[in-house]
Symmetry: C2
């Protein structure tokens, strides 16, 4: 068993989980009590960050351990939970690249974080181009369909 | 406190931590006992995976909580641990995009995983192009210098 402590928390106006329309959500990431602001020193020199977070509202009985159709859509194939990015996954971990808009003391303002208000953040890493995928990205059709309005502005 | 369980383990020929030369390391990711192979169903339709793992050999006394020069290189500026990707970080989490070479039962063969033999994996996610960084990646010069031979083949 591995023990993890939140290093920061998300603050935004999205108070309940929603599948789509994350495109215009601006979030603040505030360092947790006890985490020194120096941990963010120089982060403003990066345009993008990897945020690793914990889907804290997912209940044990909803976690998928095997395969299911993404979003229970009958047009999508039975797919293993590790071949999806859905939240109902073992360990409840989310990982998203965000755009860093501003740093102020122990607070980051970011765009493109698909996490609700109150979400614990467990790591913050700068995006370096050397860590981006090498070669062409290939992915199944269902995933492109599922992502169609994910980043669109809210209805 | 958040409790996390390994979902898989890394097997490769890199038995000690090394800063650079990860380019030709091929790794197997084997699902942990109790994790059903169906959790990987359909994953072979993706070319790339996000692997989140735990730097299990990092000792508490080596964890950086504030800022330091990356790799203690005096040519690099004092940088917060969350503005670096080094392993000596709170929560000891690594996150790397790998190329999926092969899936076989409860085993994945991947290229480009910068984790040593025995490393616990705590999540596996498919890379979707819709989750890649939007816009131009900006990063400081020191990070480009540091990454120069990171992915080169071993000496």
């Amino acid at each position: 068993m591995i023990e993890i402590k939140p290093v920061a928390f998300v603050e935004n106006l999205r108070t309940f989980p929603k599948d789509d329309h994350w495109g215009d959500v601006i979030s603040e990431i505030k360092l947790a009590e006890g985490i020194h602001p120096d941990a963010l020193k120089g982060i403003e020199e990066f345009s993008h960050l990897d945020i690793i977070f914990y889907f804290h509202q997912v209940k044990e009985e909803h976690i998928q351990y095997k395969a299911r159709r993404p979003r229970n859509n009958k047009n999508y194939p039975e797919t293993g939970i590790f071949a999806q990015r859905g939240k109902n996954r073992p360990n409840r971990l989310g990982a998203t690249v965000v755009t860093l808009l501003e740093k102020s003391g122990s607070k980051l303002v970011v765009k493109g974080l698909d996490a609700i208000d109150g979400t614990p953040v467990i790591d913050i890493k700068p995006v370096m181009k050397e860590f981006l995928p090498k070669g062409q990205i290939i992915q199944p059709k269902w995933s492109e369909d599922l992502m169609k309005v994910y980043w669109h502005a809210a209805d």
